[in-house]
């Protein structure tokens, strides 16, 4: 049997099995989840390879599966991140309510994602896309919070996206008489311009929804927040990348030889605006998870900007950031999840100073935040650098400015996140909190170590990315294990950075902790602080957490006043009023209905000349 099918079978079967296993016994279910979490990546990394393919016929359609180098890159991300989050969930999910549904949807959405990546034709792509969508919808509403609002919003936007994609697919099929992606690429030039634009835009809308690009992003913050955090890691880290994958596929593969590829730059602009706006919103969040949710939207904005810009370096940056965002946002959500599980809330105004209670979690979060902020010497910097360079090299200067504003403002929420949860005053209420169990900590630490490694040796994943880029038509992208190049020949050598920084840091550390340790030792609490000579009383609130960036908020208030969400809601309300009005057609009076019949008949008779063309 084909290895691709076996992989899908492991995931799909595992999903169903876990559902039924949890129906019978909790331990059973846990065992199945562990089994899937271990078996699927092991099988994937040992047995599945690029180039294997499997084609079959279903319902009269010729379908084909198989990885190419481009999708392989994303598959690597999914197959690392998802099993880790699955393992993490076994510790995270405290309540045993509907665990079967949870794990079913979780594994099934992984199934959907892998399916998308291995689809070599548009029908199976769409099928897996929809499967992924509804499986993730089940997880969005799993908590039951705000189902009517957030859940429906997610579903509406997903549906809008999916259906516009659907429309494009069938129109492409009309022109090509095939759903095969390779055929579509080959014959694309034969299509007339109008169809090219129509299908292109529709496909882009479809993928842009999942990657939360500006006007279509309003579902994302809510959905990311509402999802159980162990899945949010995959949701934001992996699932949203499917949109990125699709945008890349459309812009760089399907449409690369047509005029339509110019659209990329507009998309890049949208991405950059998304990044800025979402970052600004993230800065003012008081809920750590919501902060991360907005931050995800912003980061996806960068990625989309990278892909949309369409130069070699920018695409490289985009894909690299996509992978890395998966890793660091996965870590961050896991960290938040750990806090949520241990402290019961993620509200940064309620908890603080957890660094002593949860040092490992803090470490993982710290590394991930450094990566998020794009600070060397951790991996995030590499992607940011390449993105800036790409934008500068292609002389889209205002784009650079936007991206830069966004990533500078990202420092604000990065700090807020770490400060709000882990630093600051330690309150007595939070003193009893313990570190999360090992099944949760280990995945986080593993991911954060990966991030540190990326800071010096990003070449490890440059290699598959370069291979994937070749698939997209960027042959022979230069890459080096730890040197970054831009297109003007400037470069950054990451090893020097790491060596210099590491040396100074370590020397200083040795000095300050070992050599200069003769100083007096004080056992301090966070209440022992400089307060202009006064001793703070226990009831004094020394925790600065509300309205953290109030001045900044005042600066941005004209910009933040307009929420896209509100406009969508107003639009929805207007529609509902219209529908309510339409309901009145059905008056409830039988005679009226009879009158409709007669009127309709007479109208048809009167119009018959028009209808039948006589």
């Amino acid at each position: 049997m084909n290895s691709l099918i076996i992989l899908l079978f492991i995931l799909g079967g595992g999903a169903l099995l876990s559902y039924f296993a949890f129906l019978s016994k909790h331990a059973f279910g846990q065992a199945v989840v562990w089994l899937v979490a271990i078996a699927s990546p092991v099988y994937f990394f040992t047995q599945v390879a690029v180039g294997e393919s499997f084609s079959f016929s279903l319902g009269g359609f010729e379908l084909a599966l198989g990885f190419n180098h481009y999708s392989w890159v994303f598959a690597l991300l999914i197959m690392v991140l998802s099993p880790l989050s699955l393992i993490y969930s076994t510790g995270y999910m405290k309540s045993r309510l509907r665990l079967g549904t949870f794990y079913f949807s979780f594994i099934f959405s992984i199934f959907g994602m892998m399916g998308i990546l291995m689809s070599r034709d548009l029908v199976s792509l769409f099928i897996f896309w929809e499967i992924m969508t509804w499986a993730s919808y089940l997880l969005v509403i799993y908590r039951g919070k705000d189902v009517e609002h957030t859940g429906i919003k997610y579903m509406i936007f997903s549906a809008v996206g999916a259906y516009s994609m659907f429309m494009a697919i069938v129109i492409l099929n009309r022109e090509m008489h095939s759903f095969d992606i390779a055929t579509v690429i080959q014959n694309f030039g034969n299509m007339n311009a109008a169809d090219q634009w129509l299908t292109g835009i529709l496909l882009l809308i479809g993928f842009a929804v999942k990657s939360a690009v500006m006007p279509l992003h309003v579902w994302a913050p809510g959905a990311y927040t509402n999802t159980p955090t162990s899945f949010t890691a995959v949701f934001s880290g992996g699932l949203s990348k499917m949109g990125v994958y699709g945008i890349g596929l459309v812009l760089l593969n399907l449409y690369s030889h047509s005029d339509f590829s110019q659209v990329g730059i507009y998309l890049a602009w949208l991405g950059a605006i998304t990044a800025v706006m979402a970052t600004f919103r993230a800065v003012f969040q008081n809920d750590a998870k919501k902060l991360l949710a907005y931050s995800s939207v912003a980061q996806l904005g960068y990625i989309v900007a990278g892909i949309g810009l369409g130069t070699e370096l920018s695409v490289f940056a985009g894909i690299y950031l996509a992978i890395l965002h998966g890793a660091f946002k996965g870590t961050l959500f896991m960290a938040v999840g750990a806090v949520e599980r241990q402290a019961g809330t993620t509200d940064m105004t309620k908890i603080s100073g957890l660094i002593k209670n949860m040092p490992w979690t803090f470490f993982a979060a710290l590394v991930a935040i450094i990566a998020l902020a794009g600070i060397p010497p951790v991996g995030g910097f590499v992607g940011k650098w390449m993105l800036y360079e790409a934008a500068i090299n292609s002389e889209h200067m205002f784009l650079v400015i936007l991206i830069f504003i966004s990533s500078t403002a990202a420092f604000l929420y990065s700090f807020r996140f770490l400060f709000g949860l882990f630093l600051g005053q330690q309150e007595e209420e939070t003193a009893h909190i313990k570190e999360a169990p090992a099944v949760m900590v280990v995945p986080m630490i593993l991911l954060s170590l990966f991030l540190v490694l990326m800071g010096t040796f990003p070449g490890i994943i440059f290699k598959p990315i370069a291979a994937g880029m070749a698939e997209l038509g960027f042959q022979g992208v230069p890459w080096h294990m730890s040197v970054l190049y831009n297109m003007w020949g400037d470069s950054v050598n990451l090893t020097y950075v790491s060596i210099t920084f590491g040396t100074v840091f370590l020397l200083g550390l040795v000095y300050i902790t070992l050599i200069a340790r003769k100083g007096t030792k004080h056992k301090l609490s966070t209440k022992d602080i400089h307060t202009a000579g006064e001793i703070p009383k226990p009831e004094d609130n020394l925790n600065y957490s509300l309205d953290f960036y109030k001045p900044f908020e005042r600066v941005l208030s004209p910009l933040l006043k307009h929420k896209l969400d509100v406009y969508y809601n107003e639009f929805g309300k207007g529609l509902e009023a219209l529908f309510n009005f339409m309901r009145r057609i059905y008056t409830g009076n039988g005679q009226t209905y009879a009158l409709y019949v007669v009127v309709f008949l007479v109208a048809l008779i009167l119009l018959s000349g028009r209808i039948f063309g006589i």
């Binding site: 009158l595 007669v598 009127v599 008949l601 007479v602 008779i605 009167l606």
Partner: protein, 239 residues
């Protein structure tokens, strides 16, 4: 205003219908399948009344449908009107309609047998003379109607009605099914008996039998419906 609108709508409708039908000259002979019927009804079936031949044989399926419609109507009325018949009589136990006059009562009693016989004659001779099962059944029902309006206390025994209508319906279908087994083409409702000769009482093979069954069925059915409508008892259900 609304009425004016409706009238003008109806005028348009009428005009277009008139427009369609006015091309068909009244009383003109036209080509069609009817000539085949007029040819084959006396020759193949030995049935004098072509309408009967059409109703029972050529379009026998329609007739089965009609019978079913009647049966349905009776069942439907039962469903709609009577349910949860409570033992203790409800709000309005007695019909308030006044007793018919003595003359009516006497005449009713007198006429009833004659009407019965007439009805029976009509459906038995359905294949020979104008009329048939439906008409005969309707005449029989008229007889019962007469009794129902003359005597307030008169009640049709539903048990018998049920038996008759069921048996009559069953025999219709059974004859049809027998046609599938015994008939030369093995088709439903096909004649499998000796057709006799034209204008004999015992002619037309199964057609006569079917029409008699139809007559019984229609008679019973209509009687049942009339009885239902007249003897609506308040049944104490909480609508």
């Amino acid at each position: 205003m609304k009425k004016l609108v409706i009238i003008s709508l109806l005028l348009v409708l009428g005009y277009s219908l008139m427009n369609t039908f006015s091309d068909i000259e009244f009383g003109k002979k036209r080509e069609g399948i009817s000539s085949y019927f007029l040819e084959h009804s006396p020759d193949d079936l030995q049935v004098a009344n072509t309408v009967t031949a059409i109703v029972v044989s050529f379009r026998g399926f329609d007739t089965l449908g009609e019978v079913t419609v009647l049966f349905l109507a009776a069942t439907a009325m039962g469903t709609i009107l009577f349910r949860r018949r409570s033992k203790h009589t409800g709000l309005n136990p007695q019909r308030k309609s006044p007793q018919a006059s003595r003359i009516v009562q006497a005449a009713g009693k007198l006429l009833f047998p004659a009407i019965m016989i007439l009805g029976a004659y009509v459906f038995i001779h359905g294949h020979l003379t104008p009329g048939g099962g439906f008409q005969g059944g309707a005449i029989i029902a008229t007889g019962f109607l007469l009794l129902l309006i003359s005597y307030r206390q008169f009640k049709v025994e539903h048990k018998y009605v049920t038996w008759i209508e069921s048996l009559a319906g069953l025999s219709f279908v059974t004859i049809g099914l027998l046609g599938m087994i015994l008939g030369p083409h093995n088709s439903f409702l096909e004649n499998f008996l000796n057709v006799g000769s034209l204008n004999d009482l015992l002619s037309g093979g199964v057609i006569a039998l079917v029409y008699i069954a139809v007559g019984f069925k229609v008679g019973a059915e209509l009687t049942g419906i009339l009885d239902t409508l007249i003897n609506i008892r308040e049944t104490g259900d909480i609508d």
